[in-house]
Each structure stands twice: as C-alpha cells, then as structure tokens.
C-alpha cells in the first residue's frame, strides 16, 4: 500500500502539490508513481522562470525501464527546480514527498488547487489503476 499524505493535493497523472506558507506550490511525484516506475536514474528538470499551464508537460523522470512525463498540476511560473536530483535522482524513490520534490510553482491562481484530487479521491484513483493493471 503506498503512502498518500492527507494534507497534499493530487493529479490523476500522479503528481502531488503542497501549498507552502509562502504561497508557492511544491510539486513531486507520488509514492505510488515512484513504486510503479522502479529505480529512477535520470530527471530532466523544468527551466526556472518558465511559464507553464496546468496539465502541460514540464519535466521528465526516467527509470531504468522507461521515461515518464511530469505535468504541471496548475498554471503558474516555475521559480525553483530541485538541482539535487541531477546527481541523486534516487531521492525520488527514497523520499518522494520530501527531498525528492521536483519543482516549485508560483501559482497564477491558488484556487486552481481546489480542482485537484484530495487524498481520498487519489487513493480511489490508484485502486482503480491497480485493478486495471
């Protein structure tokens, strides 16, 4: 059973979003996603200062077996990318909700987060995907 922290918001494409006290939104991939991908060996980070739209492809995570696109959960401007992942992409496997964060967005509208899945909805979504697998 994968870990799904209740305070985060989620997408159907398995990104999590954390609204910080400074109004910025931290983004990474979920425990479910890292587990499905397997050993992560390379991360292509988004450009800082890049304007992104919700559901736009902004980064790529590669495991030994395949490449997966990472989508922006909401629209905004990328203000930070996790450079530590360049040398230690395995952080995403080890600590997906912590040091494995991928980028930070300054949201165009914080209320966009309300359209994302909450932990319960995301858990149901994962269960459905498991069944299809």
């Amino acid at each position: 059973m994968s870990e799904i922290p209740s305070e985060l918001k989620y997408t159907a494409t398995h990104e999590w979003s954390r609204l910080r006290d400074d109004g910025l939104v931290e983004v990474g991939i979920t425990d479910f996603a890292q587990n499905a991908l397997g050993d992560i060996v390379f991360v292509e980070l988004p450009e800082v200062e890049e304007e992104v739209a919700g559901e736009e492809e902004v980064a790529v995570v590669e495991s030994v077996k395949a490449a997966s696109d990472i989508y922006a959960p909401i629209s905004g401007r990328v203000v930070e990318a996790n450079d530590e992942l360049v040398d230690e992409p395995e952080r995403i496997n080890a600590d997906p909700y912590g040091s494995g964060w991928i980028f930070v967005i300054e949201p165009t509208d914080t209320e966009d987060l309300d359209n994302l899945l909450d932990a319960l909805e995301y858990e149901e979504h994962c269960a459905e995907e498991e069944e299809q697998h």
Partner: protein, 356 residues
C-alpha cells in the same frame, strides 16, 4: 501462459509482466539490485518461456545445415554448442538461438519465446520431405539460468556434479535429470539448466537457499545490453540481415557448397556492401531509448535498444547507423539533441567498463 515457477515468483514478491504471451517476473523489488547481484556474485532467472526443440535422426545434420547460418558440422564432438541465427530467403533474421549437440544425430535448439511458434512452423515447412529427422518441441522442459562470477561453483554444489566444474564455455552435459549448458545472456560466466517440472521446483528452492538473487526480465535486459548482446525483435528483425546486425561472424560462408536458406541473398548483399551497421552508443546525460534518431556526419540512424547501465552509471544503447560512421553523434531525445559517442560493444566486460 505461466511457467511452472509462477507461484514461486509471486511468493518472492515479483512484479509480473506480459512477455511474448507469458506472465514473467520483471523484477522482485529492484532491477538495479538484481543487476549488481549478477555482476558481483550470482543471480538466477526463470527463462522457461523459451522453447527447446530437439532435432533427431540420421538427417539432423543436413537439416540444420539448411536452416542455420552457421555450419553445425563444426560441432565435432558431443556436448559442443554454438550461437547462430535462422534466416529467411531474404537474408532477414527469423530468430537467434543456441544449438547444442547431444549425440551424433541429436541436437537441441533453444528458440526465443515470442517467436517459438512461428519458428517451429518455419522449420517444419522447410524440411525436404525425404529427410529423416524428428522435430520435437520440448514444452515439458523448464530453463533456469544461473549467472555471475560465482554461478558455476554454486550450480555445481546444488546440482551435485563434478562434470559442471569441468564444463567449458559453450559446451553442455547431461547429468542426472538435468541438461546443463555453460551459456547465458548476461556477459557473465554461468550455466543454463534444463529439467522437467518436478525437478525445477526443488532446483529453484535450492538455489534460493544458497542466497542467490532471483532476477527478472528487467535485469536480464540491462545485463545483456552492457554485454553488447542483441535482443531479437529490437536489434535483430526479419527485415534486416546479420551483416547489418553485427552478426556476420555467425555466418559461415565455408564450405561454399553449403546452401543454407538466405545464403544467396546474403552473398548479394555482401557483394553490394552493407549500408549500415549495428554498433554501440554511450551518452553522459539522459537515457537513450529504442526508436530515437541518431545523427552522424554520414547520415542518420536509429537506436534499437537503449537503457541506463547500472554498472557504468550512464546510458548505453545499440544503434543501426551508416556503415562508416564513428565517433561523435547526436541523439534526438524528445526533440532535444544530446551529444553521444559511437563505440564498439561490449560496454562491460567481466564486470568492468570497456570504454574510457
């Protein structure tokens, strides 16, 4: 379809995937850890989805001389084996395989899983009617590969045979209920053990008790690619000849009167000169994947297999590129051109890096 060891894979926590119609283990937790286990000690693989086929009869040799690109008469003594390919009339590769000589008139070929049904149909359709040979697919046999620097010692202990210690590379022996070949698909030393279903359960358990790491298809793929070994369906297909698949060495042109299937076309291709070659590519940033374009100063090519090399810590690939291309190249990874370098496979030999 499931192999006899399916329940054991599930008990070991394997993530199962479909492969050529079979439910096979992809990994048992970490394919990178499994990869390292094979390079550093030894690992075991269930490859029972592959199909052994026995050829027996007074005309077994002439039949194989017709079907295979290699000259099987070079297997002069019982127990010798060779790696070769089966070609169609256009010189394209139908499958790659190992053929073992079991006696003067009995041979065993191991075909790939995905191609096994069409391989057997092909063989049966191409044998001239007056040839005396019996073709026997051996779905009753399971295959466990034990691979790694300690594979031979441990396999010998478990199977209990002095004859395994004496087994030379590319030879085989029948010992009790086992057929053992000193062959593999990882670039490491090791054996492939064939046996019936009742024997394979206890064999697998005994190997697990020896602390050998069970390995899935994921590790098998990164290991074979590091060793520069082709995968059928990716690096070799029925559309491409061995001359453009880094396999001219398996084509035995001598004796010149041996008219194997595909020979005539292959000779014409050779006379005209191959346009492309299969070679290696290394890349420091990013991961190469099959289908990506390779740009060289002499024209473009394509990645046929690409992955991350756990031993080297960067991406390696096989690519089909213009024949004379060497050195620097560019790989189109999702629209971004990344600097790569063409190198001669293998990438890893005896657990160590080959190219600087």
């Amino acid at each position: 379809m499931k192999t006899a060891l399916f329940d054991q894979h599930q008990a070991l926590g394997a993530r199962m995937v479909d492969f050529g119609g079979w439910r096979m283990p992809l990994h048992y937790g970490s394919q990178v850890a499994e990869h390292h286990a094979v390079r550093n000690k030894a690992g075991i693989f269930d490859v029972s989805h592959m199909l052994p086929v026995d050829f027996e009869g007074p005309d077994a040799v002439p039949v194989l001389q017709l079907l295979l690109a290699s000259d099987v008469s070079r297997l002069q003594s019982v127990g010798q084996a060779l790696y070769t390919v089966m070609l169609n009339e256009n010189g394209g590769i139908i499958d790659d395989l190992i053929v073992y000589r079991l006696s003067s008139d009995r041979f065993r070929i191991i075909f790939n899983a995905a191609t096994s049904t069409t391989d057997v149909q092909w063989v049966e359709s191409r044998i001239p009617q007056d040839f005396e040979v019996e073709i026997q697919p051996r779905r009753d046999l399971n295959i466990v590969a034990v691979q790694g620097p300690e594979a031979l010692t441990i396999a010998s202990k478990v199977v209990g045979g002095k004859d395994i210690d004496a087994l030379k590379p590319f030879t085989c022996v029948e010992h009790d209920q086992y057929f053992i070949g000193r062959t593999g698909y990882t670039g490491e030393d090791g054996v492939e053990i064939l046996c019936a279903t009742d024997a394979v359960h206890s064999l697998w358990k005994a190997l697990i008790e020896e602390q050998l790491t069970p390995c899935g298809l994921g590790a098998r793929d990164t290991l074979r690619l590091e060793a520069g070994l082709n995968l059928y369906g990716q690096d070799m297909t029925s559309e491409v000849s061995p001359l453009e698949s880094a396999l001219e060495w398996v084509v035995h042109w001598e004796p010149i009167d041996r008219s194997f299937i595909g020979r005539e076309r292959l000779q014409n291709l050779k006379a005209a000169g191959a346009q492309r070659k299969l070679t290696g590519v290394v890349l420091e940033r990013g991961i190469m994947r099959a289908g990506q374009e390779v740009q060289t100063g002499l024209g473009n090519g394509v990645i046929t297999s690409g992955t991350y090399s756990p031993t080297l810590g960067y991406s390696i690939a096989l690519a089909r590129v213009p024949k004379l291309a060497t050195g620097d190249c560019k790989i189109d990874i999702r629209g971004r051109l990344v600097d790569g370098r063409l190198v001669r496979p293998p990438f890893v030999r005896k657990g160590r890096k080959v190219h600087k």
